[in-house]
Protein backbone atom coordinates (compact mmCIF):
# COMPACT_ATOMS: atom_id res chain seq x y z
CA UNK A 1 0.00 0.00 0.00
CA UNK A 2 1.42 3.34 -1.00
CA UNK A 3 1.76 5.84 1.82
CA UNK A 4 2.65 9.49 1.54
CA UNK A 5 3.81 11.26 4.67
CA UNK A 6 4.47 14.94 5.12
CA UNK A 7 6.29 16.64 7.92
CA UNK A 8 5.83 18.79 9.71
CA UNK A 9 2.02 18.82 9.74
CA UNK A 10 1.95 22.30 11.19
CA UNK A 11 4.54 25.01 10.80
CA UNK A 12 4.51 28.44 12.37
CA UNK A 13 7.27 30.71 11.21
CA UNK A 14 8.31 34.33 11.19
CA UNK A 15 8.36 36.40 8.05
CA UNK A 16 11.76 36.44 6.44
CA UNK A 17 12.76 32.96 7.63
CA UNK A 18 13.50 29.89 5.54
CA UNK A 19 12.04 26.46 6.04
CA UNK A 20 11.52 23.11 4.32
CA UNK A 21 8.52 20.80 4.13
CA UNK A 22 9.30 17.13 3.54
CA UNK A 23 7.26 14.57 1.64
CA UNK A 24 8.20 10.90 1.90
CA UNK A 25 6.48 8.15 -0.04
CA UNK A 26 6.68 4.40 0.21
CA UNK A 27 6.78 3.06 -3.34
CA UNK A 28 8.26 3.82 -6.71
CA UNK A 29 6.81 6.77 -8.56
CA UNK A 30 8.21 9.23 -11.06
CA UNK A 31 5.56 11.90 -10.69
CA UNK A 32 5.03 14.07 -7.69
CA UNK A 33 2.83 17.10 -7.23
CA UNK A 34 2.67 20.01 -4.83
CA UNK A 35 -0.57 21.89 -4.22
CA UNK A 36 -1.59 24.87 -2.16
CA UNK A 37 -4.99 25.16 -0.50
CA UNK A 38 -6.39 28.25 1.17
CA UNK A 39 -9.16 27.79 3.78
CA UNK A 40 -12.47 26.90 2.13
CA UNK A 41 -10.92 26.88 -1.33
CA UNK A 42 -9.91 24.35 -3.93
CA UNK A 43 -6.41 23.06 -4.64
CA UNK A 44 -4.05 25.23 -6.64
CA UNK A 45 -1.30 23.47 -8.54
CA UNK A 46 2.20 24.64 -7.60
CA UNK A 47 4.63 22.15 -9.12
CA UNK A 48 4.67 18.97 -11.16
CA UNK A 49 7.92 17.02 -10.76
CA UNK A 50 8.34 14.38 -13.44
CA UNK A 51 11.77 12.85 -12.99
CA UNK A 52 14.55 12.14 -10.54
CA UNK A 53 16.50 15.26 -9.71
CA UNK A 54 13.76 17.58 -10.96
CA UNK A 55 13.87 21.02 -9.39
CA UNK A 56 11.32 23.75 -9.97
CA UNK A 57 11.08 27.24 -8.55
CA UNK A 58 8.34 29.82 -8.46
CA UNK A 59 8.86 32.94 -6.44
CA UNK A 60 9.79 32.03 -2.87
CA UNK A 61 8.97 28.34 -3.32
CA UNK A 62 11.28 25.67 -4.67
CA UNK A 63 10.44 21.98 -5.01
CA UNK A 64 12.75 19.05 -5.67
CA UNK A 65 12.38 15.33 -6.21
CA UNK A 66 14.70 12.45 -5.32
CA UNK A 67 13.04 9.29 -6.57
CA UNK A 68 15.79 7.04 -5.20
CA UNK A 69 15.23 8.34 -1.67
CA UNK A 70 11.47 8.61 -2.34
CA UNK A 71 11.59 12.13 -1.03
CA UNK A 72 10.40 15.51 -2.22
CA UNK A 73 11.01 18.82 -0.50
CA UNK A 74 9.26 22.16 -0.71
CA UNK A 75 11.61 24.92 0.38
CA UNK A 76 10.33 28.30 1.43
CA UNK A 77 12.70 31.22 1.17
CA UNK A 78 12.17 34.44 3.14
CA UNK A 79 8.58 33.63 4.00
CA UNK A 80 5.87 36.27 3.72
CA UNK A 81 2.38 36.30 5.22
CA UNK A 82 0.76 35.59 1.82
CA UNK A 83 2.32 32.13 1.86
CA UNK A 84 0.13 31.11 4.80
CA UNK A 85 -1.91 28.13 3.54
CA UNK A 86 -1.98 24.34 3.63
CA UNK A 87 0.44 22.58 1.31
CA UNK A 88 -0.11 19.07 0.01
CA UNK A 89 2.20 16.73 -1.82
CA UNK A 90 0.69 13.95 -3.91
CA UNK A 91 2.24 10.97 -5.62
CA UNK A 92 0.92 9.60 -8.88
CA UNK A 93 0.38 5.85 -8.62
CA UNK A 94 -0.78 5.33 -12.19
CA UNK A 95 1.31 3.75 -14.89
CA UNK A 96 1.57 5.57 -18.18
CA UNK A 97 -1.15 8.16 -18.34
CA UNK A 98 -3.72 6.67 -15.98
CA UNK A 99 -2.99 9.07 -13.13
CA UNK A 100 -4.27 8.35 -9.62
CA UNK A 101 -3.01 10.54 -6.83
CA UNK A 102 -2.24 9.57 -3.25
CA UNK A 103 -2.04 12.65 -1.04
CA UNK A 104 -0.05 13.44 2.04
CA UNK A 105 -1.88 14.74 5.10
CA UNK A 106 -1.00 18.33 4.36
CA UNK A 107 1.24 20.87 6.08
CA UNK A 108 -0.46 23.97 7.45
CA UNK A 109 1.89 26.91 7.22
CA UNK A 110 1.34 30.00 9.32
CA UNK A 111 3.63 32.94 8.63
CA UNK A 112 3.63 35.56 11.33
CA UNK A 113 4.55 39.20 10.71
Amino acid sequence: ELKVEQNPLFLSMQEGKNYTIYCNYSTTSDRLYWYRQDPGKSLESLFVLLSNGAVKQEGRLMASLDTKARLSTLHITAAVHDLSATYFCAVDTGSGNTGKLIFGQGTTLQVKP
Binding site: V4, R31, Y33, K41, S42, L43, S45, V48, L50, F88, A90, D92, N97, T98, G99, K100, L101, I102, F103, G104, Q105, G106
Partner: protein, 112 residues
Protein backbone atom coordinates in the same frame (compact mmCIF):
# COMPACT_ATOMS: atom_id res chain seq x y z
CA UNK B 1 -17.01 29.42 -19.17
CA UNK B 2 -14.26 26.92 -19.79
CA UNK B 3 -13.18 24.76 -16.90
CA UNK B 4 -14.51 22.33 -14.36
CA UNK B 5 -17.73 23.02 -12.49
CA UNK B 6 -19.13 21.26 -9.46
CA UNK B 7 -22.66 21.53 -8.15
CA UNK B 8 -24.11 22.08 -5.69
CA UNK B 9 -21.57 24.09 -3.75
CA UNK B 10 -23.16 23.15 -0.43
CA UNK B 11 -25.59 20.36 0.41
CA UNK B 12 -27.25 19.20 3.61
CA UNK B 13 -29.04 15.86 3.46
CA UNK B 14 -30.48 13.36 5.87
CA UNK B 15 -29.14 9.93 6.69
CA UNK B 16 -30.46 7.32 4.27
CA UNK B 17 -31.26 9.69 1.43
CA UNK B 18 -29.78 9.44 -2.02
CA UNK B 19 -27.79 12.43 -3.17
CA UNK B 20 -25.93 13.14 -6.41
CA UNK B 21 -23.00 15.49 -6.79
CA UNK B 22 -22.38 16.84 -10.27
CA UNK B 23 -19.14 17.49 -12.10
CA UNK B 24 -18.92 19.04 -15.56
CA UNK B 25 -15.84 19.88 -17.63
CA UNK B 26 -15.55 21.83 -20.86
CA UNK B 27 -12.16 20.53 -22.05
CA UNK B 28 -13.10 16.99 -23.13
CA UNK B 29 -10.34 15.52 -20.97
CA UNK B 30 -10.47 11.73 -20.89
CA UNK B 31 -9.64 11.25 -17.23
CA UNK B 32 -11.87 12.46 -14.41
CA UNK B 33 -11.64 11.80 -10.69
CA UNK B 34 -13.62 12.14 -7.47
CA UNK B 35 -11.82 12.79 -4.19
CA UNK B 36 -13.05 13.40 -0.68
CA UNK B 37 -11.24 15.59 1.82
CA UNK B 38 -11.44 15.01 5.54
CA UNK B 39 -9.41 16.57 8.32
CA UNK B 40 -6.26 14.58 8.96
CA UNK B 41 -6.55 12.50 5.80
CA UNK B 42 -5.70 14.87 3.00
CA UNK B 43 -7.60 13.89 -0.13
CA UNK B 44 -8.59 10.31 -0.90
CA UNK B 45 -9.62 8.93 -4.27
CA UNK B 46 -13.17 7.58 -4.45
CA UNK B 47 -13.61 6.71 -8.14
CA UNK B 48 -12.02 7.63 -11.41
CA UNK B 49 -12.88 7.35 -15.07
CA UNK B 50 -10.58 6.92 -18.05
CA UNK B 51 -13.25 7.71 -20.65
CA UNK B 52 -16.99 7.64 -21.18
CA UNK B 53 -18.42 4.34 -19.91
CA UNK B 54 -15.12 3.37 -18.23
CA UNK B 55 -14.92 3.76 -14.46
CA UNK B 56 -12.93 2.16 -11.67
CA UNK B 57 -12.66 2.19 -7.90
CA UNK B 58 -10.18 4.23 -5.93
CA UNK B 59 -9.14 3.99 -2.27
CA UNK B 60 -12.54 4.58 -0.63
CA UNK B 61 -15.37 3.56 -3.02
CA UNK B 62 -17.80 1.97 -0.56
CA UNK B 63 -21.18 3.69 -0.46
CA UNK B 64 -20.63 5.57 -3.72
CA UNK B 65 -21.70 4.99 -7.30
CA UNK B 66 -20.48 6.77 -10.44
CA UNK B 67 -21.46 6.87 -14.07
CA UNK B 68 -20.06 8.53 -17.12
CA UNK B 69 -22.33 8.39 -20.14
CA UNK B 70 -20.79 11.55 -21.63
CA UNK B 71 -17.17 12.66 -21.58
CA UNK B 72 -17.98 16.00 -20.00
CA UNK B 73 -20.01 14.77 -17.02
CA UNK B 74 -19.01 12.59 -14.11
CA UNK B 75 -21.71 12.47 -11.40
CA UNK B 76 -21.10 10.90 -7.99
CA UNK B 77 -24.06 9.34 -6.18
CA UNK B 78 -24.35 8.45 -2.54
CA UNK B 79 -27.02 5.78 -2.64
CA UNK B 80 -27.91 5.93 1.07
CA UNK B 81 -26.04 8.74 2.78
CA UNK B 82 -24.37 8.14 6.14
CA UNK B 83 -22.87 10.62 8.59
CA UNK B 84 -19.40 9.28 7.81
CA UNK B 85 -19.84 10.63 4.29
CA UNK B 86 -19.93 14.19 5.58
CA UNK B 87 -16.96 15.66 3.76
CA UNK B 88 -15.77 18.03 1.07
CA UNK B 89 -15.86 16.42 -2.36
CA UNK B 90 -13.58 17.49 -5.19
CA UNK B 91 -13.82 16.55 -8.82
CA UNK B 92 -10.69 16.73 -10.97
CA UNK B 93 -9.55 16.23 -14.55
CA UNK B 94 -6.16 15.26 -15.93
CA UNK B 95 -4.44 17.00 -18.80
CA UNK B 96 -2.48 14.05 -20.17
CA UNK B 97 -0.06 16.14 -22.22
CA UNK B 98 1.30 17.89 -19.13
CA UNK B 99 0.30 15.40 -16.42
CA UNK B 100 -1.45 18.31 -14.78
CA UNK B 101 -4.56 17.94 -12.65
CA UNK B 102 -7.23 20.61 -12.30
CA UNK B 103 -9.61 20.53 -9.36
CA UNK B 104 -13.12 21.88 -9.15
CA UNK B 105 -14.27 24.24 -6.43
CA UNK B 106 -15.62 21.42 -4.29
CA UNK B 107 -18.96 20.43 -2.78
CA UNK B 108 -19.33 20.60 0.99
CA UNK B 109 -21.74 17.82 1.96
CA UNK B 110 -23.22 17.47 5.42
CA UNK B 111 -25.22 14.37 6.34
CA UNK B 112 -27.40 14.84 9.41
Amino acid sequence: DAGITQSPRYKITETGRQVTLMCHQTWSHSYMFWYRQDLGHGLRLIYYSAAADITDKGEVPDGYVVSRSKTENFPLTLESATRSQTSVYFCATLTQATYGYTFGSGTRLTVV
